[in-house]
């Protein structure tokens, strides 16, 4: 297995390994070391099936179920296995049709074009996310990644001091309301409740600090809401400057994994009413993120 630096210290391309097959413990350890060193790893030309993607993901921890799947009615879902995220523009299980322009699932998914960290609306957040490309459109639809460690490092000492103790409130409602979406199926009030996370994370393995930013943030504990949001906007702008960002142009068979504790990401636009884009997502429950646990440990 070989890792080539695509973007120094942030993105690496992995070759010389077949991740469709079971891995040895040494392979798993090598990939984890790569994730700690880089934060985003790309694996080109990996023709994974859904089962193989799930099996590969299980090497690194406990799979989480996707919120979109969880909150959808069964007939709105493409996959009934909730650990498998449907990142496509198909009309649910009917893959002969694309979602209509005003389809509720399309509106919900548009907010993935805001910079975010997956599942930051959960008390434990997400660890790694793994995204595999099955069908890619002719133009657009890059996924962009921003390095939250480099963004933290680039803060001034005064800014580092200011953000150090802050706790943010995250909810899926906050990211969706930014683009005017609030049409949730009833019965999911528990999933919409804000959860607290520290704004500055210390990675459990590398000890490096990073900004835990996400479009799911709606407030800072103890701050007036407008002041918190203006501040988070400024920080997000700082953290997503071009020097911290990598744009991934998808090819069929690409598997990309990233660490949500150290990376924000977003989707970008494509002609989704005409072209198909079909990606599958698996992700892991976060470790070392829950604010109460972090406070108790101090």
């Amino acid at each position: 297995m070989h890792i080539r630096a695509v973007q120094n210290g942030f993105v690496g391309e992995v070759t010389g390994i077949d991740i469709c097959k079971p891995l040895t413990t040494d392979d798993v350890a090598a990939i984890e070391r790569g994730m700690d060193q880089y934060a985003v790893l790309t694996f080109p030309d990996q023709p994974l099936t859904d089962e193989q993607q799930v099996a590969f993901t299980e090497n690194f921890g406990e799979l989480e179920i996707t919120l979109a799947g969880q909150m959808a009615k069964p007939e709105e879902r493409r996959f009934q296995q909730l650990e498998l995220g449907d990142i496509s523009n198909f009309n649910g299980a009917d893959t002969t049709r694309l979602r209509a322009r005003d389809d509720k699932r399309r509106m919900y998914a548009l907010a993935n074009r805001l910079w975010h960290s997956d599942a930051s609306f959960r008390a434990v957040g997400a660890g790694y996310t793994l995204l595999h490309a099955r069908i890619v459109p002719g133009k657009g639809a890059d996924t962009q990644f921003a390095d939250m460690r480099a963004a933290y490092d680039a803060l001034s000492e005064a800014e580092k001091k200011e953000v150090e103790g802050l706790v943010c409130e995250h909810s899926i409602v906050f990211s969706r309301e930014q683009i005017g979406f609030g049409d949730y199926n009833p019965g999911h009030e528990e999933h919409l409740k804000p959860v607290p996370h520290r704004l500055v994370l210390t990675h459990p393995k590398t000890g490096r600090k990073s900004l835990y930013l996400s479009s799911h943030i709606g407030g800072i504990v103890g701050w007036p809401v407008p002041e918190a949001r203006a501040f988070i906007r400024d920080l997000t702008e700082h953290a997503t400057q071009p020097q911290f960002v990598y744009s991934h142009k998808w090819r069929v068979g690409d598997m990309v994994m990233w660490d949500n504790r150290t990376v924000m990401h977003r989707a970008t636009r494509f002609d989704d009413l005409k072209e198909v884009r079909d990606l599958r997502r698996t992700s892991l429950k976060g470790v070392g993120l829950e604010v109460k646990q972090a406070m108790a440990a101090e």
Binding site: I179, F181, V225, E227, R233
Partner: protein, 301 residues
């Protein structure tokens, strides 16, 4: 001494003017020279202009009719620090001249000025020039940043130009404030009608210069005929494009600076400062535009 203008950026956006005292009556030639400078640079910076409110109002009237400040219009008489309705109070001071508290409603709504916007784009006839005079500046921070919407339009790719050419957007003050969690209901019952959205073209054409510009603003809430989330994402993408560093000039304020910008061809935003401890007292006058950018409808909901 005659008026001269030095470009402040490599691209020729924003100019620094010297050789003129704006607090004295101007000749028609001087007014024309400033108008020409505005067409060319979009933003003009004048130093050491010791305005009081009366002289700022008099100078501003050289360029057209003045708008009533929306902040003044939406507040009660007993809460206004400045008596003239045409003088917008861009400060962190209350009616008694004290710093506003952290939870002060006026402070929280003013935080919306930290989003990129074009002044009064929430009016059917939006603003032409804004003129901002620095009376007291804070120790650090509080810059105003300007973005060149003509250069930003020029840099849009051909497909996107075709896509946006005829789009019409809806603007309201409520949309910009809602983004930072200051909700429409917080404006009070008496102001709800003033928050009714108005329509504008997304691409403006200036017959004086023959140039097009992106008419973007945090006050935009949707695009006519589009689903709201899709409209907001496109506007966000265009905003990000239009506010790249290469289109932006940051003005660092000195006391007695006067900056004029053209809201038809630029966006701007305020930057953070220690507003709970430092005084920042700026006064703004605003010139009304020449007309609507697109026909209004009775119910532009």
């Amino acid at each position: 001494m005659t008026l001269s203008i030095r470009p402040l950026t490599a691209s020729g956006f924003a100019g620094e003017v010297s050789g003129i005292d704006l607090t004295r009556p101007l000749s028609p030639d001087q007014v024309a020279a400033i108008d020409d400078g505005m067409d060319r640079f979009g933003v003009l910076v004048f130093h050491d202009q010791r305005f009081d409110d009366a002289s700022q109002l008099a100078f501003s009237r050289n360029f057209g009719d003045l708008e009533v400040s929306s902040g003044a219009e939406m507040s009660k008489a007993q809460d206004r620090r400045l008596p003239q309705m045409e003088m917008a109070d861009i400060s962190n001071l209350d009616v008694k001249g004290r710093l506003r508290a952290a939870s002060d409603r006026m402070r929280l709504t003013a935080l919306g000025n930290r989003l990129w916007h074009s002044d009064a784009s929430f009016r059917a006839i939006p603003a032409k020039y804004s003129l901002l005079s620095a009376r007291t500046v804070p120790g650090t921070g509080g810059n105003t940043e300007f973005a060149d919407m003509r250069a930003a339009y020029d840099a849009v790719d051909a497909d996107m130009k075709a896509e946006i050419e005829t789009l019409v957007t809806e603007h309201s003050n409520a949309y910009s404030r809602e983004q930072i969690g200051f909700m429409k209901a917080d404006y009070g019952e008496e102001n709800q009608l003033k928050l009714k959205p108005v329509r504008h073209r997304l691409v403006r054409y200036d017959p004086r210069t023959g140039r097009r510009s992106l008419y973007l603003s945090a006050h935009i809430g949707t695009i006519v005929g589009w689903p709201v989330p899709e409209a907001r994402m496109l506007i966000r993408d265009l905003m990000e494009h239009a506010t790249q560093r290469r289109f932006v000039h940051a003005h660092v304020w000195r006391q007695w600076d006067l900056v004029i910008w053209d809201n038809r061809t630029t966006m701007h935003r305020a930057r953070r400062y220690n507003d709970l401890t430092d005084v920042r007292d700026m006064r703004r006058t605003t010139i009304r535009g020449d007309g609507v950018t697109v026909a209004q409808v009775q119910e532009a909901a």
